[in-house]
């Protein structure tokens, strides 16, 4: 279970000024639930994702974020991952010269080591990876390619979902995973997430549009505006926002 309390975070701009992006976030995602975070551009959605995963160019000035009773904010990014947090990037990073299979196995084994589990050998790993790849309708050569290099937008997002499927996080944060996806890729990505749904998995789906939520139906929807959650509701809230837009909510905030 993820519990965020009164979370404040700032970023320092090029002129050295400190700008507060998150201005007191309160949010709880119980085990087994998928919550959506929606909101206009600049509301702080991606900042929230990065603060949770430990990106160092944000400074947390107040509040807490606790996953399964462990203080996420006190840990290095790799420790947060080992604790069960996964961030699906809005812009997955290309790693020239790093093979995808090698990357995936290194990540999986690093997390297993951190949890005192035995490492997985290359043969076992390939078996696991091939099964995931099949499930996501990805071409098998994706394992042989360099991480995200020359991947289309859709392939990059599918590669994020592949990593998630292999790493089996307790909590996945999907940062605008729908951006740049056509409808087929969107469906595959959503199926990848839905397949993980269960009592041991929860997710925070960050999106600007309601479209993704037709495929990943959330238990709760929260609206983030100007660094705070200004409204929460059931899945119907997403459809309402699609019709009404964010303007009314921003005025209310």
């Amino acid at each position: 279970m993820l519990e965020i309390r009164d979370l404040h975070a700032t970023i320092t701009d090029a002129e050295g000024r400190s700008l507060e992006i998150l201005r007191g976030i309160d949010l709880a995602v119980p085990d087994g639930e998928v919550h959506a975070i929606m909101g206009p551009n600049g509301a702080g959605k991606s900042t929230l994702a990065h603060v949770l995963s430990g990106r160092d160019f944000y400074q947390v000035t107040a509040g807490s974020a606790v996953l399964d009773g462990v203080d996420l904010l006190a840990m290095a990014p790799e420790q947060r991952a080992a604790a069960g947090l996964f961030l699906a990037f809005q812009y997955p990073v290309e790693l020239p010269g790093v093979g995808n299979a090698h990357f995936l196995r290194t990540a999986l084994n690093a997390q297993r080591r951190a949890r005192d589990l035995p490492e997985i050998d290359a043969v076992q790993f390939l078996k696991l990876a091939r099964a995931e790849i099949k499930r996501l309708a990805m071409p098998e050569d994706m394992l042989k390619r360099q991480v995200n290099v020359g991947f289309s937008g859709g392939e990059k997002k599918r590669n994020e979902v592949l990593q998630m499927g292999l790493l089996r996080p307790r909590l996945a944060v999907l940062d605008e995973t729908d951006s740049g996806l056509d409808i087929d890729a969107l469906r595959i990505v959503a199926e990848g997430v839905n397949a993980l749904r269960g009592p041991q998995f929860s997710a925070l789906v960050i999106t600007h549009y309601q479209r993704l939520l037709d495929y990943i139906v959330p238990d709760r929807v929260h609206v983030l505006a100007a660094g705070r959650i200004v409204r929460s509701g059931g899945p119907e809230l997403a459809r309402q926002l699609e019709v009404e837009g964010y303007a009314a909510i921003e005025q209310a905030a």
């Binding site: 947060r80 990073v93 790693l95 010269g97 690093a110 360099q146």
Partner: protein, 402 residues
């Protein structure tokens, strides 16, 4: 001019006429100093101060080299201290006939002159139309307690349409000068894949001077990976003499401590529609210094030349240094020729991406350095040969991240 000290640079008694002529050139040229433009960034003071003895033929058994274990079945040509070792080889160099190319320029290049004073020619000839497969050339310099100088010399002649992959490994122990000269003549439509691994000892000076001449439609793909020596220099003079000749040069050097690595290329595009691609990668840790000098001369006749040159440097420490000097001299008017350089540290976004997947920072950094160096290795078609370079890369990483 630095006086060449030591008996190692004195002409042996039974010298040939060519060796005597080379000695006169070397006497005149001396060891290059930074006052010579081509040696501006590489100072040979340290080399000049060492008293090298000439390397005697050695009957030492082969050290336990990973390359021999991974590729036991490959035809191989072994040289120890610059001398051919028939007992360790299963391929013999051909006779030094009149057909061997005379591409070296001892009258201009001091190290070629020095090499010519001592070297025994070792020609390999692939007849026209013949595919010679893959051959391993292993050149070892094994110094005892005293510094020695070895001068291996290799000529390669590929007849029209001939093909060869040369896996070219040099290594050594102790303090030595490994001063090799390679002469490569490619006939029309011939193709050479040259995979070079240079892994000198920490106290070594490793100088390679390479001369290549490409006839019409010939292709020369060179991959060069340098892990070390105290000071290394690879100087390649490549002439695209025939139309539509192609040259690719993927060089990487991984240097640490006070290592100095110099890659210097001089390309002569002398004929129309030639194509050259040079990509250099430097990873420099601690106080290492990398140098790339890339000259491209395009002759008036060499219309439609397509040349590209790029020098990438990854600096892992504030004390590391890269010197990059492109030099394009273009005398034809219908030519595409570009050059560039990048210098930087490891990318913070890439490190974060790996860490967000649970990979600790030191391991993440090592993966990215490896990736940076490994990119050209993907082009090696044969898996066991790629494994030789992968192993070398793993050893390099241990040094870089120590």
């Amino acid at each position: 001019m630095v006086a060449a000290s030591g008996t190692g640079f004195a002409l042996p008694p039974a010298a040939s006429a060519a060796a005597r002529a080379a000695a006169a050139h070397f006497q005149r040229l001396g060891l290059p100093t930074p006052r010579a433009e081509a040696w501006k960034y590489t100072n040979l003071r340290g080399l000049g101060a060492v008293d090298f003895a000439p390397a005697a033929p050695s009957s030492a058994p082969l050290p336990d080299l990973p390359v021999l274990a991974s590729l036991p079945g490959l035809p191989r040509l072994v040289f120890v201290n610059g001398h051919h070792r028939p007992d360790l080889s299963n391929v013999a160099p051909g006779p030094a006939g009149p057909g061997a190319p005379a591409l070296a320029r001892p009258e201009r290049d001091a190290f070629a002159a020095l090499n010519t004073m001592f070297a025994t020619p070792s020609p390999i000839v692939v007849p026209p139309g013949h595919d010679a497969g893959t051959v391993l050339r292993l050149s070892l310099t094994l110094a005892g307690s005293d510094p020695i100088a070895a001068h291996p010399r290799q000529s390669l002649t590929l007849g029209a349409g001939a093909r060869l992959t040369l896996l070219d490994v040099s290594a050594g122990t102790g303090a030595y000068l490994h001063n090799e000269v390679l002469e490569i003549a490619l006939g029309a439509g011939a193709h050479l894949t040259h995979l070079r691994l240079q892994e000198g000892s920490a106290a070594a000076f490793a100088i390679t001077t390479l001369y290549a001449d490409l006839a019409e439609g010939a292709g020369y793909d060179a991959l060069s990976f340098t892990l070390g020596a105290a000071l290394s220099r690879t100087e390649a003079h490549v002439a695209l003499s025939g139309a539509k000749a192609r040259f690719t040069f993927d060089a990487a050097q991984a240097l640490t401590a006070h290592q100095h690595g110099d890659i210097t290329t001089v390309l002569a595009h002398d004929a129309p529609q030639g194509r050259s691609r040079q990509t250099i990668r430097n990873v420099l840790a601690q106080s290492a210094r990398g140098v790339f000098q890339g000259r491209i001369d395009v002759a008036r006749a060499a219309q439609k030349t397509d040349g590209y040159q790029m020098n990438h440097a990854l600096l892992l420490s504030a004390n590391a240094e890269i010197d990059s000097k492109p030099e394009l001299r273009i005398n034809a008017d219908d030519v595409k020729c570009s050059h560039g350089a990048t210098v930087g540290e490891l990318d913070a976004d890439q490190i974060f991406y790996l860490r967000s997947r649970g990979i600790p920072e030191p391991e993440a950094r090592a993966m990215l350095i490896r990736g940076f160096l490994a990119e050209p290795l993907a082009a090696i078609a044969e898996a066991p040969i790629r494994a030789v370079f992968d192993d070398a890369l793993a050893r390099a990483l241990t040094g870089l991240t120590a």
